[in-house]
């Protein structure tokens, strides 16, 4: 379990609104979400399918922009990051893990992990950084029990192995936050538990995690749980131990 001492706030979302235009219909997904993620915390966000969990993660990760409201990383407002700086934010500070792994089929396991590092560096800097990056990636994959899979293509891997590769890819740049979107959603229960174990392992070494799931059992592995309902975050009912992170009680 994470230490219970007061921790600095890493991510702050204030009054987030998000709607999508579908044809001439406007879908209001988020209606004033407030959220604080503390450094070192493992936060689970519950919610029914279609409640806007993924949308929230995309906003936090700088992959999409809110219709209204602000997101702060440390003290930096994301809306103020333009073009290349937002790309760098995603590359350095955020690690995404998706339900369907989303590995690049043309690349082998090692390359899938290294590509995150490559994206963060200019091409001319790569030859010098290459061997160190490979060493780190190999070590990380070793920690995830994939050292025998380095040169295999994703298609040859099982679902659990794929998700572990995806986690390695998300963590190779030592991001401040791991944003996991239903990381066990496509896996059977046993494999799902293995993935949770992996996340727990990294969390123990200080990794901040925001995990989205519709499964209460999975969510129970986290330090804190919030539920996304009707476009707003509320503290989970049966979860009395965790304080609501809602800005309303600030």
């Amino acid at each position: 379990m994470a230490p219970s001492a007061p921790q600095p706030v890493l991510l702050t979302a204030t009054d987030l609104w998000k709607s999508f235009q579908m044809g001439d219909q406007k879908v209001q997904v988020l209606r004033g979400v407030n959220l604080r993620v503390l450094r070192g915390q493992w936060l689970a966000i519950l919610g029914a399918s279609g409640s806007g969990k993924s949308t929230l993660l995309h906003l936090l990760g700088g992959l999409d922009t809110p219709s209204a409201g602000t997101i702060r990383f440390d003290s930096q407002e994301l809306a103020a990051l333009r073009g290349g700086r937002l790309d760098r934010y995603r590359n350095r500070h955020i690690g995404f893990v998706f339900q369907f792994y989303h590995l690049l089929p043309e690349l082998n396991v090692l390359e899938n992990v290294l590509i995150s590092t490559m994206i963060g560096r200019p091409a001319w800097g790569w030859p010098a950084a290459r061997s160190e990056a490979r060493r780190q990636a190999t070590a990380l994959l070793d920690r995830l029990g994939l050292s025998h899979r380095l040169h295999h293509k994703p298609a040859k891997l099982s679902g659990g192995e794929r998700q572990r590769v995806a986690i390695a890819r998300a963590l190779i740049n030592q991001p401040d936050v791991l944003l996991a979107d239903e990381p066990t959603g496509n896996l059977d229960e046993g494999t799902g538990q293995q993935i949770l174990e992996v996340i727990r392992d990294f969390h123990r070494s200080g990794q901040t995690v925001v995990m989205v799931t519709h499964d209460r059992a999975i969510a129970s592995a986290a330090d804190a749980r919030l539920t996304l309902h009707a476009g707003q975050l509320e503290s989970s009912l049966e979860d009395s131990s965790a304080k609501p992170q809602d800005a309303s009680n600030r």
Binding site: L63, H102, S116
Partner: protein, 491 residues
């Protein structure tokens, strides 16, 4: 770096880019082959045309101009002039085996003409051709009676000592070919005779040649004022035939000796006769020629040569006020119509094929758009990992560039192989499929001429590379513009 990695992987894994490469390859090869063959065709025509006329010509109309030898001497004093020779040109009729043909008759000093145009090299027949024909027509030796054997032997000896090139240079037939001792020789263009045929390889057979035949040539002499005199008729023996490489010339030109034609046309020096009394006046009309052909020293630019020849000609005309107006012309001007037509044709064909090649650009665009669609989710993932719009665009631009480079390289390679073996390919097709794309009967050159111009090839290759880039431009832009969230949701 990830861009290069992905480009390399995409190139290796997908069938679609192979099609794009194929499109670029084919268009590149096609254009280079067309331009090389047309260029070779043009080059061959130019060479032939230049050989026919020397480089610069000075001339008057058909009634000719006097003191030409003076002009030649002056021209030969120029350091830029390698050789110059006089020519009498007229039109006439040749009766060959009771076929009457219209021809352009050139009276030439063969040695002089050879120095200017390489005339000797165009003479087609050698005694070997006649000997081979003799062997081919001979029945087996045992079927010959001793008398026949004797005659064959005599014929062989006759052919062996026959120097047809020398005959073509001297215009004197061997006694066996003429019924009178003073019969002059004539050299026909190889296509003048209606019996002249080329086989499927474009080769002429000595069997159908006019060698040794007697012909009657008729020309119309002109007075200096341009009125006609009595036609001059002469019986002659064909001593050789020439092949210049230009069909029109080979079908309509004959060569005879300069002095002979001059005399027949009454352009030789003659005492003036008073037209009323019919008595000689004591004055002499100088001999005339119609043209002087000039060949420059190698390396002298054509325009420079032309300028020098013009100034000498002007000087000459100033010295001889009784000389009719003279023109100066380069070989390029003389054959401008013919060469211009082929040049236009080359341009037109290249243009048409270039338009066809635009298809390659469209094809790359379509294929790339499909790839972008297929890779939409990967693009979303790359954006989530921190790749920029420009990074995504560069992947596809680089990909297009790679396809352009590979396609251009393969295209140049294929074109080089095809162009250098085009005649073998043609022979193969003819032999196995009876398909003849280049019919020597039509095109006159027996081999398909080609010219692999590094300049033209470079331009085409560069255009091919560019077309790869161009084709990927729009898909790359669309890929960069993809909304990463929607890309991730893309099924």
């Amino acid at each position: 770096m990830y861009k290069l990695l992905l480009i390399l992987r995409y190139l290796r894994r997908k069938l679609a880019p192979m099609f794009a490469v194929l499109a670029v390859t084919l268009c590149t090869a096609m254009l280079i082959i067309v331009i090389s063959v047309m260029g070779g065709f043009l080059q061959m025509m130019r060479d032939a045309a230049q050989k026919l006329t020397g480089e610069v010509m000075v001339g008057a109309d058909l009634s000719g101009f006097p003191y030409y030898q003076e002009l030649i001497d002056e021209l030969q004093r120029l350091p830029q002039v390698h050789a110059a020779t006089a020519l009498v040109r007229s039109y006439g009729l040749v009766n060959l085996n009771n076929r009457v043909l219209t021809v352009e008759v050139h009276g030439v000093d063969a040695a002089g003409l050879d120095a200017v145009t390489g005339y000797g090299g165009t003479l087609h027949w050698t005694s070997r051709d006649l000997l081979e024909l003799l062997e081919a027509q001979l029945p087996p030796a045992e079927e010959l009676t001793p008398g026949e054997k004797e005659r064959v032997e005599a014929r062989r000896r006759f052919y062996e000592q026959l120097d047809l090139r020398r005959l073509g240079m001297t215009f004197t037939p061997p006694p066996e070919w003429s019924d009178r001792p003073d019969t002059p020789g004539i050299v026909l263009g190889i296509e003048v005779s209606p019996w002249s045929v080329r086989d499927s390889q474009g080769q002429y057979s000595a069997l159908n040649s006019s060698l040794g035949m007697q012909v009657t040539m008729t020309v119309l002499p002109l007075t200096r004022r341009g009125t006609f005199l009595e036609p001059a008729v002469r019986r002659m023996a064909v001593v050789n035939e020439f092949k210049s490489g230009l069909y029109d010339i080979d079908a309509h030109r004959v060569y005879v000796s300069f002095e002979l034609l001059q005399k027949m046309l009454r352009m030789d020096a003659a005492e003036q006769v008073d037209p009323e009394t019919g008595k000689p006046t004591g004055k002499v009309d100088p001999a005339r020629a119609t043209e002087v052909l000039v060949r420059g020293v190698p390396g002298v630019p054509l325009e420079e040569l032309r300028r020098q020849v013009s100034s000498v000609t002007q000087q000459f005309a100033g010295d001889h006020l009784d000389c009719p107006p003279l023109w100066v012309q380069t070989w390029l001007e003389r054959h401008a119509m013919l060469l211009g037509a082929v040049e236009r044709e080359k341009l037109l064909l290249t243009f048409l094929f270039a338009i066809i090649s635009v298809v390659a650009v469209v094809m790359i665009a379509v294929i790339f758009y499909m790839i972008v669609l297929e890779k939409t989710r990967d693009i979303g993932v790359l954006r989530a990992l921190g790749a920029s719009r420009f990074g995504i665009e560069s992947i596809f631009l680089g990909y297009g560039l790679a396809i352009g480079v590979i396609g251009a390289g393969l295209g140049v390679g294929i074109a080089a192989v095809v162009v250098s073996h085009i005649n073998e390919i043609q022979d193969f097709l003819t032999e196995h499929y009876h398909f003849t794309m280049w019919d020597p009967k039509i095109y006159y050159f027996d081999r398909i001429p080609t010219r692999f111009s590094p300049m033209e090839v470079s331009v085409i290759a560069a255009a091919a590379v560019l077309s790869g880039l161009l084709g990927s431009l729009l898909p790359a832009y669309l890929a960069g513009r993809l909304n990463p969230v929607e890309a991730l949701r893309y099924e």
